[in-house]
């Protein structure tokens, strides 16, 4: 069986001529279906660039990315947009909810774009809202709810289409610790109960400890990879802190 996500020698260079800056170089890894993978690294290491490239929002300079059995390398802008719509889900640090829509409508949006019939949309939205515990908030507007609730809404929006792959970019970055824990637990549940494949970028060791596997990036290159295996979350958290200390520059990020 092939992996869900295959990344082959991906590199990303910005600028032209003598003024080039290499954000990513020679990155190769795979993600299997049903995995919960974290990506960590110090600021400026290229975490977000990697996620953007994988999420087809940005294009790699070299190398190839395959999701499912689709090779994304030579796809055009419009095709990529359609691919995102049908296969990927996103959770962003700043939620990216649309202010002019209610919580319900925000969750409806990707389904509406995918032309799902209104009857089915109702069912799916109610189901996902229940999973994330926001059923009571469906008719409120984003400015009427808290940050944690916004991130649950954003997560519901990302997951309602049952995407093959979910990308989360610092999803807990703007949340207080209680909301962050709630969200991470929801994601972790979803990963286990529904075999959802999640890839999460974070610089927070606590958030990362919910993952099963963590890739560390340093200066645009993969430096290490650790597995949670049979460890408890606390043990895994300690291991992450050790790795961060060893690659340096991590201490600041932890606190």
């Amino acid at each position: 069986m092939t992996s869900l996500l295959q990344v082959q020698n991906v590199g990303k260079t910005y600028g032209k001529g003598a003024n080039t800056f290499t954000a990513l170089s020679n990155i190769t890894f795979t993600v299997e279906k049903g995995e919960f993978v974290g990506v960590m690294g110090p600021s400026g290491a290229g975490k977000s660039t990697l996620l953007n490239v994988l999420a087809t929002i940005d294009t790699p300079t070299t190398g190839g990315i395959t999701i499912g059995d689709v090779n994304l390398t030579h796809m055009k802008d419009a095709e990529l947009a359609d691919f995102r719509r049908d296969n990927l889900g996103f959770i962003f640090q700043d939620y990216n909810l649309l202010d002019s829509l209610t919580v319900r409508e925000n969750i409806v949006l990707p389904l509406a774009i995918a032309k799902v019939p209104a009857k089915d949309i109702h069912k799916k939205v109610n189901h996902i809202a229940q999973l994330f515990g926001i059923s009571d908030l469906l008719d409120k507007y984003p400015y009427q709810i808290s940050g944690g609730q916004k991130q649950r809404t954003a997560s519901s929006r990302a997951l309602v289409t049952e995407p093959k792959l979910i990308f989360a970019d610092e999803p807990t970055g703007a949340l207080d610790s209680k909301s962050a824990t709630d969200l991470l637990e929801s994601l972790s549940d979803l990963n286990q109960s529904q075999a959802a494949t999640i890839m999460m970028v974070t610089h927070d060791a606590f958030a990362a400890s919910f993952c099963q596997r963590i890739l560390f990036i340093q200066d645009g290159q993969l430096s290490q990879e650790i597995h949670r295996g049979m460890q408890t979350r606390k043990q895994f958290f300690q291991e992450i802190l050790q790795v961060l200390a060893s690659i340096g520059g991590g201490v600041n990020d932890v606190i």
Binding site: F83, L98, S100, E105, V108, P110, A112, A118
Partner: protein, 620 residues
Amino acid sequence: MTLFSLARKNIQRNLSNYFLYIASMVFSIVIYFTFVTLKYSDTQGSSKQIQGLMSGSSVVLLFFIVIFMAYSNSFFMKKRKKEVALYSLLGVRKQKIGFMLFFENIVIGLLSLGLGIGLGFFVSQGLFMILVRLMGNEVVTQLTFSMQALMNTAGIFAVLFLLTSLQGYRVIYQFKLIDLFHAEKQGEQIPRASIVSVIFGVALLAFGYYTSAADIFTSNIWRFFTALGTPLVVIAMTIAGTYLLFHSVSVFVLTTLKKATAWSWKGLNLIGVSQLLYRIRANAKSLSIIAILSATTITAGGGVFGVYYNAETTVRQMLPNTFMWKGEAVSFSQVDVLYNESLAVKNLRVDNEHAFFEYTLLKESDYNRLAKWQGKDEQLHVAEGSAIVLDATYDERFSHDFTGENFKLANGDAFHVDKMYTDSVLNFQPAGTVLVVNDDEFATTDAEAVTMQVVGLNDDLKQKAVSKEIYQQLSSEQQDSFSSVPQSYEESLAMVGSLLFVGSFLGLVFLAATGSIIYFKVLTEAEEDQAKYAILNKIGVNSKQILKTVAGQVAVIFSAPLLIGIVHSTFALIALSQLLNMNITKPVIIWMLIYSAIYAIYYVVTVRSFYKIVRQETKS
């Protein structure tokens, strides 16, 4: 580096950003300068009414330009808030920034003033030519550069630039640094429509429309408010109704649409509807103003164009013969003559208690001959004791319909009126209302015998020279009775032509300005919406779909005021055509099409710029 040079460099570097602003300034100046040049030009010394018209219109124009400049200036300032914030962050004092912007505005002002006046001079030459043509003059005169117009324009715009500069100053002082960096992030309130104002708005418009379409002379509403009061009442109600339409009815309709999930939960309909929900409510005032302005422009332009279009028909209706006068024949150049003859008619005088009326009695055989020359097919055979009445001024609402009645003469005789025609074979001047009887009856009727000359020429509209030639040979009494198609046509063109010119000129300016106002507004909003479309792109909406929803939203914003303006003016023109007793459907439709076509150009340009702005964000 002095502030002045910083300001100057600013302009040089961001010329493309400034282009739109400068262009709208130059546009305003060109329009105004052209107008005052025409106003001050004494080349058309004779036409006092045109100058009066021009003076009145230039006030309207000025009022309009002030609004327009305020709009474009605030748009421009909004665009530059970030730049101002940056200076402020770097520690430049507000006072200095204000000073810099002030300088900048002055530089832009001087630049636009120079450009505008230069361009305006050429434009006024061209427009003057058109004006002369529209008034039916063939002689083309040159306009001289008017110092008076220059002083007037420069003075007024200096004041305006000073005001807009102060407006800029105010913006700097009012905003806090934090506001300058962040566009308002507070949640916008969800607009809700109160059912009362929805019903009230619809009722106001319905009443206004009903009243305009009602017969002015029989409707009770018109009687109640009087002929002068009713239009004012209708206009007031329509304006209030229009505002409520944009403020509440639109929200009501859009909310209903949004609730119909079978439709709204399909593709980007949800986005389109909720964006519009905010936009239309927030812009209710501007959209109403634009709708009313469009309505005014279309009504005024359509009405004037209708009258102009009908000028020839009106003249021909009243004057079926090229020339006609009472008295003896005169000799004139015999080119293009179709017919030229003396008619023996009789002058009937009918007295009643208050006044007397004069009618012209015409022989049946003369009628038939003239009718044939004038291209009418029908030949009359009037029975003994009967008459047929020809009344070119007949209007069913005011005139007396003689059909079937006995027409009593002063001496006790009477004719039975068989039929009435509204087109005569004799010019209303000098013949008035005509009674056609058979030749025997004519001979026996006792009335004052009169000789009238009727002349028909080919190409009659261009026979001004012949008209003068004849006129000069007539005695002053005969001159009073003289009527001439080319002369009447020229007079009505001179009047209506200048009206048409001013009307279409102002109409064009209004159109350009309303179009630009929507353009500015929509683009300001596009900048606020950039982030939204970036999100949409991230969750998998391709560019084609974004273009589609953008085009749809902008289409609603553009077409709503236009459609309402057209409907308003349709009803206003129904009332007007009733008042003038004229069929102006065709010219009005032509006018509306031209108006909509220019509007459509604005639409396309706006959608393109909107899309560009939105895509900028997602590309980066």
